[in-house]
């Protein structure tokens, strides 16, 4: 299963209708807030993170991915009681890295997507832990098993979500 990009088609940028770029972040934030109310286990999934990664690996522009990630993270922070910027920093870094890796990897491949989301989910938690514990001095405990389960769940949901978003792209 080749994960690295080997053709111009695989490294080319992909576009969606502009409505998708507006609606997807809002829906991600809103659904994350609403669904978690009725299904508490949905907290394991991080829809804003998945949208950030998808945008980054399809657009493959580190600058826009960084800004979009920061905005998504700040919007996510606004719904919590954390200071604004915790998730903003996390997602800005992840957007930048996903866009940079998207140039080198075959992001159409489900396997590479699975690995990317798995790694970025763990990375986000690591950055969050670093900011909370070291920068802000707030309590935050790291539980390996829990974080691995979260990363696996996020990866599986992400692969399905990315496939659905691909369908929208192919219809245009």
């Amino acid at each position: 299963m080749p994960l690295l990009a080997s053709s111009r088609h695989e490294v080319g940028t992909q576009s969606h209708p502009w409505v998708v770029y507006v609606l997807a972040p809002v829906l991600a934030i809103g659904l994350q807030s609403f669904v978690s109310l009725h299904f508490p286990a949905f907290d394991l999934v991080d829809l804003p993170l998945l949208v950030t990664i998808y945008y980054a690996i399809t657009r493959r522009e580190p600058v826009s991915a960084t800004v979009v990630g920061a905005l998504m993270g700040i919007a996510q922070d606004a719904l919590t009681h954390h200071p604004l910027g915790i998730f903003g920093i996390c997602k800005a870094i992840i957007g930048y890295m996903a866009a940079s890796l998207g140039v080198r990897l075959d992001t159409e491949n489900h396997g590479s997507r699975l690995l990317l989301i798995f790694g970025f989910t763990l990375e986000q938690t690591a950055i969050f832990w670093l900011l909370q514990r070291k920068l802000l001095g707030q309590p935050f405990a790291w539980h390996w098993i829990h974080e691995l389960v979260r990363a696996v769940v996020d990866s599986l949901v992400g692969v399905i979500l990315f496939a659905l978003l691909d369908l929208i792209r192919k219809r245009e």
Binding site: V26, I29, G30, Q32, S33, F34, S36, L37, H38, P40, D43, L44, D46, L47, P62, V63, T66, V67, A70, I74, A75, Q76, A78, L79, T80, H81, H82, P83, L84, G85, I86, F87, G88, I89, A92, I93, Y96, S100, F128, L131, Q132, L135, L136, Q138, P139, F140, A141, H143
Partner: protein
């Protein structure tokens, strides 16, 4: 120079974005003791995001409630009659329990007034629908559909009929954020009901409330109720918090943390009450309830057959009604003994209580049982006046020798009680 920016454009943008947010974090983080509210700019951003997210959530919530309402109010009515009967029976029981507690409540109010204790009563609450959450495990925050327009303010307590939920964190025009008691940054003063141990309730990393830094105590058992202590100045005293789940050692010392199972179902909240007004005087509806409860107790006392035992004073009958009201929580009382065919001094009620007797006094048989006989001489000083002492004291030779009475009936067995010991009284009234 231009080529430098062009070449490292991506990295420079990333560094700029990160630096701006780190500075923003530094501005937002405050020292302990300062005003915990957000700055105006931060509030504005939160308000924008919530303003975008809340209306669709409110619409979705309303749609779900409507569909559920149509189903439950017009279609799913199979068990309504049975449920109605059960609820009516429960209501009757609750009324009886309220009657039994009314006098205690009035007495507690009087005692609190004597002690100068400032009790907080809930005057006014605002019902609100929960329309969203923070969406992350790291922040236990709820979004409710009432805001400043409904009179909500930061730090107002949020409860359900089952127990406390949290407090208002931030208020916007039509929505508010509620910080749950399961969050690590929350805090509430609580007290264990049985052991009277006070502590601070906060959330742990798994989102379960816990009382932190409690001295190890073997008396703390699982299932012990936990209520608010009122010491935090936010929650009124006496609200249900939950029950003790288990005790976990505190990793930072020799103290322990008491994990609490919350009374309110924090993972499935739909409607909450925000306490918007409290006061030290008992509210009028509550006073009316208490008055009504006492009247009901009197009516019950006159109607219940068990409460009207012959010879029972009205006050005792009223108390008996109250006691019978709580009979569902107590073991059934034994039936009163039947009246004796040939009453003697061992019959129930045949001997007056020791408090009515004089030391050295003799008991005489009467038609209805026995009656005290006047002692011939002054009572011995050693007899004392304590009823308890005369109960425990064995019959002294002096008493026996100086006042031999032909009317005194000697019991057939050797272990007879002394003359001054009262016979067991009938357990009437239950």
């Amino acid at each position: 120079m231009e080529s430098f920016f062009t070449r490292y454009r991506n990295a420079l943008v990333l560094i700029t974005v990160l630096l701006a947010q780190v500075i923003g974090l530094a501005v937002q983080v405050r020292r302990p003791g300062t005003n915990p509210g957000d700055k105006q700019g931060v509030r504005l951003i939160r308000s924008w995001v919530i303003g975008v997210v809340a209306p669709p959530e409110r619409l979705l919530h309303w749609t779900g409630l409507s569909i559920r309402g149509v189903w439950s109010d017009y279609i799913d009515l199979v068990h309504v009659r049975r449920q109605n009967r059960r609820l009516r029976a429960q209501l009757g029981q609750v009324r009886l329990e309220e009657d039994s507690l009314a006098e205690d409540a009035r007495q507690a109010v009087r005692l609190q007034a004597l002690l100068g204790f400032q009790e907080k009563y809930i005057y006014k609450t605002v019902a609100a629908q929960v329309i969203g959450t923070s969406g992350t495990e790291q922040s236990h925050v709820l979004l409710i559909d009432k805001g400043a327009g409904s009179g909500l303010k930061p730090d107002m307590p949020v409860i359900t009929p089952d127990g406390i939920v949290g407090k208002i964190r931030d208020v916007f025009a039509h929505t508010s954020q509620v910080l749950e008691i399961s969050d690590e940054t929350s805090g509430a003063g609580v007290i264990l009901v049985n052991t009277r141990i006070e502590g601070v309730l906060t959330g742990n990393t798994w989102g379960q409330p816990q009382i932190v830094n409690v001295s190890p105590d073997d008396r703390i058992k699982a299932g012990e109720p936990v209520i608010t202590s009122g010491g935090d100045g936010i929650f009124p005293r006496g609200l249900a918090v939950g029950t003790v789940d288990r005790i976990a050692p505190n990793p930072e010392g020799t103290l322990v943390n008491v994990l609490v199972k919350p009374a309110a179902n924090l993972s499935a909240l739909e409607e909450v009450l925000v306490i918007t007004s409290t006061g030290s005087q008992m509210p009028v509806p509550m006073q009316q309830d208490l008055t009504q409860a006492v009247r009901t107790a009197d009516i019950l006392a006159s109607r219940l057959p068990s409460a009207n035992t012959p010879g029972t004073p009205p006050a005792q009958a009223s108390g008996a009604a109250s006691a019978s009201a709580s009979a569902n929580t107590l073991p059934p009382a034994p039936p009163p003994p039947p009246p004796p065919i040939h009453p003697d001094r061992y019959s129930a009620g045949g001997v007056p209580p020791a408090s009515d007797l004089t030391p050295g006094q003799q008991i005489t048989s009467t038609a209805g049982g026995t009656a005290p006989m006047q002692a011939p001489g002054p009572a011995p000083a050693s007899a004392g006046t304590s009823t308890a002492a005369s109960k425990k004291r064995a019959p002294s030779p002096h008493t026996r020798g100086t006042s031999p009475s032909p009317t005194r009936q000697t019991p057939p067995h050797s272990g007879n009680p002394p003359a001054t010991e009262p016979a067991p009284q009938p357990q009437g009234g239950r």
